[in-house]
Point group: C2
């Protein structure tokens, strides 16, 4: 992509109406735009990041046998009355009537939709287990939207639902999902900072599992056992006697963190009201056990920025960066223009993701600070000086030193780093 | 994908509450499910079709320099008041208040969002043109939802918006978009049945351009000039004097059709109220000219089914079929099982899209009628009889005759047909 044609521009100044680091940097870098409190547009650069994260999540869900669907955002009141959540969770849902006076709401989760849907297709033990997931925009009528992409009124979620013949099967899949989640956080570059965290199980079970990513401005507070790499959410720390749930260690570190995922054993919380049963091998009717597994795709994008930035801008981990390379031209000499154009074209041919700062009306200083703000992992620069050595200068966003690479070896180098 | 693990099942009987062919066949085939009138879930097979269409549309939009974004579904009332459409189009929009009493609505189109967004980044002639598109769920508070995927309350749209320095530039891009649209319809298999159609320009201009696909149960009526391959929508036929707009031919054929796309020259309809201007080369302020270009992704899916089906089921065009091959096993002989498994695994290794009917509890008849209902273009069958000749039988969904292909040549054959 040529930066001269990129629809967005960076913003130099700090924004007054955004407190969170993720919103500040993502808006200033041209990744997102705020339409109103808690509601953001994803602009071309931000859309690329979103798709990168989406694809990582999608691949790992398919790896644990997830089948992808796309469920509606418009929900009928009736489904939510069956589980008593139309009233119980009154304020979370945006509600309205259609032209015919029918009550509807906007989905903030999809148990009320997926459970009766699965009931249409699952009758026998032979039809189980079922794993269904979707990646979709969801809506919450939050009283206070805050923290940029971390707590929005409209956001993008992956939610997977699993259906099992018994609790043991649910438990096994729960373990599998846990591992898949850590693979996702690993591929997104935040595994090191992310901890399985015991939290309140809500109406479903004693504990639920959250995945919390440590950052200085996290909304949540967790008590971390570094030995077990396990944490306990503040909300249940008293209940767990200020001890690690696994090793009973009392030396827990208090950390701010962002919840980037959660997995629940729903058991029969939803299958019961929807009467979702199956016939086992002996023809006996049994209730189906359910699990649900959420990851906020847009929230994860925000969390990555909270973890990876400095005072100049974002520092994208390679796998979720909008581009792998930021090719920059700062000299107006014809030979430099032609040679940089050629490098760009060669990279394009090899399908290497590159943003090419070919803008004519920007100084070197402006281009470098834009590059730092946007945060693409590798900056590639050709100047008269590097050309004398038939080289380009390559600098990692998070390192001060740069190195020279022969122009003819650029593709090879890039293939090496993109492994 | 093994059919024994596929989450959905087919439905044998005709559905009483669906009048349209597309909804009948798509629900019975397990592609979609109706949550309520005009609101459908996309199930694994349907999701695959949706993604195929989406990717075709995406590629052609990128080919005409479109940059992809993702805009919110939640819209603030203020933006719609600026263009007077909050009141004017009162009933189309789902409207509600958030917890703080702020009025919002659900987007059924995005001019009111994209125009002020572009205003943030475009100031000079150097920033133009801009082409932005998105693929997203949209919402219409229809009094009567009908015709399955053709007129829903929630649906998936691609909308592209273009921004130009003058009308000439808009006109040129409009022509380019027209060609891109025909490429899309060609790739989706419905170009032959699809005609550029003059329709009412609404508030924007004398005429707008629609793309109408002829099918016996289309909602619209068009007057077709077969010579020019041009049509006129019934709504303006009187105005155009019952003549072809191009060649003045009066021998027009009246046909039922489905609108699968539309392109509008918006000119200054939205840039004016939002005061979207730019400075030209002489530093003079000028109003920006806009165009918009829509394709209903889910509607296109419905239209393809309306065009391609018979009394047994759907007949997917290759490029939008959930899978290219339907591999079917009807004999329980161990050798047949092993050899069919091997063919499946070999196809999987080559990343060839195949649905494998490995179900143990279905008869040959049931499997064949399911295959016809689901409508994958090629059916592949291994039996003792074909094995004697070291062959599989391959039958096209829309042909009666089958042919024998050597097992060792299956991959080669498939690569040939998938070109």
């Amino acid at each position: 992509m040529k930066q001269s044609s990129l629809f967005t521009k960076t913003i130099k100044e700090n924004l007054k109406d955004e407190e969170s680091i993720n919103a500040q940097l993502l808006i200033r870098g041209g990744f997102i735009d705020k339409l109103m409190a808690g509601v953001y547009s994803y602009l071309p650069l931000g859309f690329l990041v979103l798709k990168k994260i989406e694809n990582i999540v999608r691949e790992e869900m398919i790896n644990i046998s997830g089948q992808e669907v796309f469920l509606p955002a418009l929900h009928p009141k009736e489904n939510w009355e069956i589980t008593n959540r139309w009233q119980q969770e009154e304020n979370i849902m945006f509600k309205f009537k259609n032209q015919r006076g029918k009550d509807m709401g906007l989905g903030w989760t999809h148990e009320e939709i997926i459970t009766p849907l699965v009931k249409k297709f699952v009758h026998s033990y032979k039809d189980l287990p079922v794993y269904v997931f979707q990646i979709q925009n969801k809506f919450r009528n939050e009283l206070r939207a805050k923290s940029g992409l971390l707590r929005g009124r409209e956001f993008i979620m992956k939610d997977l639902y699993s259906f099992h013949k018994d609790e043991k099967d649910l438990d096994n899949y729960h373990e599998k999902a846990k591992k898949a989640y850590f693979k996702i956080f690993d591929r997104c570059g935040i595994k090191k900072q992310t901890f399985l965290t015991y939290a309140s199980g809500g109406a479903f079970s004693k504990y639920s599992h959250e995945f919390q990513t440590i950052t200085p401005y996290g909304e949540d507070e967790i008590y971390l056992c570094e030995k077990c790499r396990l944490a306990i959410n503040k909300e249940i720390i008293k209940e767990s006697n200020y001890q690690c749930i696994q090793c009973k260690n009392k030396d827990l570190k208090i950390k701010k963190a962002i919840e980037v995922g959660n997995i629940f054993k729903l058991k029969d919380r939803f299958s019961k009201p929807f009467d979702l049963k199956f016939k086992d091998k002996n023809g006996e009717e049994k209730i189906i056990m359910m699990g649900c597994y959420g990851i906020g795709i847009s929230r994860l994008m925000g969390a990555v920025v909270e973890v990876y930035h400095d005072d100049k801008g974002i520092i994208w981990p390679k796998n979720v960066s909008p581009y792998l390379l930021h090719l920059i031209r700062i000299e107006k000499d014809k030979e430099i223009i032609n040679k940089t154009d050629k490098i760009y074209n060669d990279l394009q041919k090899e399908k290497i993701e590159v943003l090419y700062d070919d803008r004519e009306d920007k100084t070197a200083g402006e281009k470098f600070s834009d590059a730092d703000l946007i945060g693409i992992p590798y900056r590639v620069l050709l100047t008269k000086k590097t050309l004398e050595k038939e080289c380009v200068e390559i600098k990692k966003r998070n390192e001060k030193k740069s190195k020279l690479i022969k122009i003819k070896d650029v593709i090879k180098f890039v293939k090496e780093i993109s492994k």
